[in-house]
Amino acid sequence: MAKPSEEQLIAYLDGELAEDERAAVALALEEDAELRDRAARLTESAALLRAAFDEVVREPVPDRLIAAARGAASAGASVVPFGARLRRHIGDRRWWIGVPVAASLAGLLVGAGLGFFAADETVVTATKPADANLASGSWLDNIAGYHKLFVAAGPNDAALVDVPANDGDARKGAQKLPSDFRLPNLKPWGLVFQGARFLIVEGRPATQLFYTTDIKALGPLTVVVGTSNKPDIAATFDHRDDLNLLYWRHHGHAYALVGQADIGYLWNIANDIAWQLDAI
């Protein structure tokens, strides 16, 4: 084909051309070294532009904007403390005061793990938690259900936790986290790791991590980290009863947070996790 126009070349790089036009530009690129160099420079300048603004989405959102989003700014309502303010306030308090171990709910777990592979990025609107009969529920239902079980049963329930925080001591034969797995450090948020379980999300292995805290506004939290072969998606909020969920996919990994914490908290913790696990 004739040399593609700048518009065609850039639309090609952006994945916006129809199939026939795309094939023609691809052929032109194969045959023309100068054009390939031009495409490489355009790609690089676009990457630089993204990098120049990337840090903005990782910054804690200012309190005044959270308040504005909640409609509280003009009313002068109190603002939930986030990010650095939270870290400053919590100082060096002792976080873990223990989660009372309730009666074992292992019997409820039989069917809870059966049907959580079907969900995709669509926001699921079901409001019922996972239960033994919900074989077709989504993985979001599943992790929300396990979060509730974890809160009720505590981290010492052997039927719930595959990898205890102090592995080896609590149970012989307990599994360990994979050697290449990076455990998010959430101590600055007052969250203490209590254990993990293995699960499958969208057909891929994942790990659900349980954290506890004595900060009532934050409450127990679970973090799900898994691999994914699906396209990246921005952080998306959802609810299950009184639980808030936040999930996203980035660079071949899927993530989710579950807890009763205000979404503003979850958002800032999610940013922290993304920074810790993606900054490779």
Binding site: E6, S45, L48, V57, E59, G71, F237, H239
Partner: protein, 175 residues
């Protein structure tokens, strides 16, 4: 149960801040812009149509307020020398930018006309499709396509002139 209006708004705040940071002259001004957009969105929540994209609706509000502000200031020429200098003089921005070329990139973006800047921020930075960007900018897809092409070419030329692109590509080859 779908997320509440406020929750959806909070979820999109980081992306709105990034968009605004590329439009406004400073980080503080960018957050002012986002705050104004939140307040306007809440007063017009009834106008949001369920089933349409919430993020696109919010991007459009940010863009509308920004254009109103530009007009109010009677800024005839976007991306003037003064504006680029103001970005460079923002201490908070300078502190957070460790790499020289990233500062150059922001300055190069600030020199572009407003409509090209918007197209770049929506498509190249935020990753929206041409169709989505066209809906936000309220122009045909072909217009977005040509604005993007002009913007990408102009940005590349500025970065090459400033040396940021050359350094970046050299770094990539060295690795």
């Amino acid at each position: 149960m779908s997320p509440s209006f406020g929750d959806q708004l909070i979820a999109v705040l980081p992306r709105l801040r990034r968009f605004a940071r590329g439009l406004a002259r400073s980080a503080v001004e960018a957050d002012d812009l986002v705050q104004s957009a939140c307040e306007r969105a809440l007063t017009r929540a009834h106008q949001f149509q369920e089933g349409t994209r919430f993020d696109s609706w919010m991007f459009r509000i940010v863009q509308t307020i920004w254009i109103d502000q530009i007009r109010a200031r009677d800024v005839r020429k976007e991306g003037s020398e003064d504006e680029a200098l103001q970005i460079g003089s923002d201490e908070s921005v300078r502190r957070t930018e460790a790499r020289l070329e990233l500062r150059e990139v922001r300055a190069a973006l600030a020199e572009l006309p407003a409509e090209q800047r918007t197209a770049l921020l929506l498509v190249t930075v935020d990753g929206l499709s041409y169709k989505e960007a066209a809906e936000i900018a309220e122009v045909p897809i072909g217009t977005i396509m040509s604005r993007l092409a002009r913007a990408r070419v102009a940005l590349q030329a500025r970065l090459e002139a400033g040396g940021a692109l050359r350094r970046s590509m050299s770094d990539g080859e060295a690795e």
